[in-house]
């Protein structure tokens, strides 16, 4: 029987904020990920370029997202990530999982994980992996 919950549109949605903090203007990667997440059945709130940490935290709160995806190719991740984590916490959004995609040297990853970043993806990361990791992170609470 066509119970409404058996249709894909009615399943519980994972809401993901995709944002580009800072001044870097290369958004193709962010858009590729946004579309991949949509194709995986998620609701992607795409906020575009030149987002400040405050704008990102505000959007995350208003949209009650499960995940924040930051696209950072400028190398500013060590400054931006802790600030964003801090603001999310200040707003009470302690369960939100934050992922970073972009250009991040391997040696920075441990420090990023320490401040609470769940996953880091470099160029060439597969969207299937990103989708899988997001689903796992959200269901693990």
């Amino acid at each position: 029987m066509a119970d409404k919950k058996t249709r894909p549109e009615q399943w519980r949605k994972i809401r993901v904020l995709v944002a580009k903090p800072g001044l870097d203007g290369h958004d193709r990667g962010a858009k590729v990920v946004a579309r991949a997440l949509r194709d995986a059945g998620m609701e992607v709130i795409y906020t575009g370029l030149r987002q400040t940490p405050e704008m990102i935290a505000e959007a995350a709160l208003q949209e009650d997202v499960d995940v924040v995806g930051l696209s950072i190719l400028s190398g500013a991740h060590m400054a931006l990530a802790p600030r964003i984590m801090e603001l999310l916490k200040a707003n009470g959004q302690t369960d939100v999982k934050v992922f970073i995609g972009g250009i991040v040297p391997d040696e920075d990853i441990p420090r990023l994980k320490e401040v609470g970043i769940t996953g880091v993806y470099g160029p060439g990361a597969s969207t299937e992996d990103i989708v899988k990791d997001i689903r796992a992170a959200v269901s693990n609470g």
Binding site: R38, L61, Q62
Partner: protein, 350 residues
């Protein structure tokens, strides 16, 4: 404190979480809505609809900015975008156009995906607006894509509906979609700096007006309203007798949807749109239409809920096996759909 109480006390985290609960139609959400309902009825709802590419989000951004600058009203924005019917996912990009509003604690922007529901979209949007209403937002802007009946349903939710057009988007064809245009309380031709704006305006006006031998007739909300031939229907007549328009609108209970031009990227024409909204609200209150619309709104919400409740009860009473068996018989043409319904509902207490 319950979730509802937290929302009433101004807790933004509670508010955002309740919006999610309500959107997912959870038991917690329904309970909170019941608690919050007595606190609703104050907010002004404005629907903004129109085809993709007309600049709705920029317009909403400008309207909200103007209201925040000139009035001390708190503004909520519900921006609806379509979900993929195949994957169930969506990219909700309306916030991109609303960066000017960030950092203002008197503004709350929430993106909603249509989630494939048709009549249900209006219902979900209605409950979200109730939460914002109870939470103290004075003005709620609801932005949807004007692509079909579901958007018309959402428009019925609003006190004032703005339909946005833009030049050069196959205007003549767009203007023919009378169903969408008929719901407009205010028509906005956005991107008015583009060529073709006069033609767009003309196409809109001719769709709305019907030539009549003894007078002109205006179509609005499914009614044919006679207008004296001498009354100017254009807000853009520079030499037009605006006092005649004003007095016509308050003397009779006649609202003539104005056609306004805007350039939402630089704010041109926005003050006039806000002023038209205010005139419309005043008209609704004076003519008694405000109460009539509230009534119609709540009635359609009640009906949607009754339908959903009856359907749930049906699903509980009829097993999947029985349903599938009957469906098979219809598929092999042994049973007609109406006979199938009789079979399935027979003995079901509905």
């Amino acid at each position: 404190m319950t979730l509802a109480q937290q929302v009433l006390s101004g807790d933004r985290l509670a508010l955002t979480r309740l919006l999610t609960q309500v959107e997912n139609d959870s038991p917690e959400g329904r309970a909170a809505l019941a608690d919050l309902f007595p606190h609703t009825g104050r907010a002004q709802l404005i629907g903004v609809t129109g085809a993709p590419g007309t600049g709705k989000s920029s317009l909403v951004n400008q309207l909200a900015l103007h209201v925040r600058k000139t009035q001390n009203k708190r503004v909520a924005i519900v921006a609806v975008d379509p979900s993929s019917p195949f994957t169930g996912g969506a990219v909700l990009g309306d916030r991109v156009r609303m960066r000017d509003l960030s950092g203002d604690s008197g503004v709350f922007i929430r993106s909603m995906a249509s989630r494939g529901s048709l009549g249900g979209l209006a219902q979900a949007t209605a409950t979200l607006t109730q939460v914002f209403d109870a939470a103290g937002y004075d003005l709620i802007l609801i932005e949807t894509v004007g692509a079909g009946q579901s958007e018309v349903d959402v428009a019925r939710l609003a006190h004032t509906t703005i339909v946005v057009e833009a030049p050069g988007l196959g205007d003549d064809i767009q203007a023919i979609k009378a169903g969408i245009l008929e719901i407009a309380d205010i028509l906005v031709v956005n991107k008015a700096d583009r060529p073709g704006v006069e033609n767009t305006e003309k196409a809109l006006r001719s769709t709305l007006e019907l030539a009549h031998p003894t007078g002109r007739v205006y179509r609005h909300h499914g009614q044919y309203v006679p207008v004296a031939a001498s009354v100017s229907l254009s807000d853009n007549d520079e030499g037009g007798d605006s006092s005649l328009k004003q007095s016509t609108q308050s003397d009779t209970s006649l609202w003539i949807p104005p056609i306004l031009r805007t350039i939402s990227t630089d704010g041109t024409g926005i003050a006039e749109v806000v002023e038209a909204i205010e005139r419309h609200v005043a008209h609704l209150r004076q003519s008694g239409d405000w109460t009539a619309r509230e009534r119609a709104r709540l009635e359609s919400e009640l009906e949607a809920l009754i339908e959903a409740a009856l359907m749930s009860r049906f699903r509980e009473d009829v097993s999947t096996e029985k349903y599938d068996e009957v469906l098979e018989r219809v598929l092999s043409r042994k049973l007609s759909p109406s006979e199938a319904v009789k079979l399935l509902t027979n003995g079901t207490r509905v």
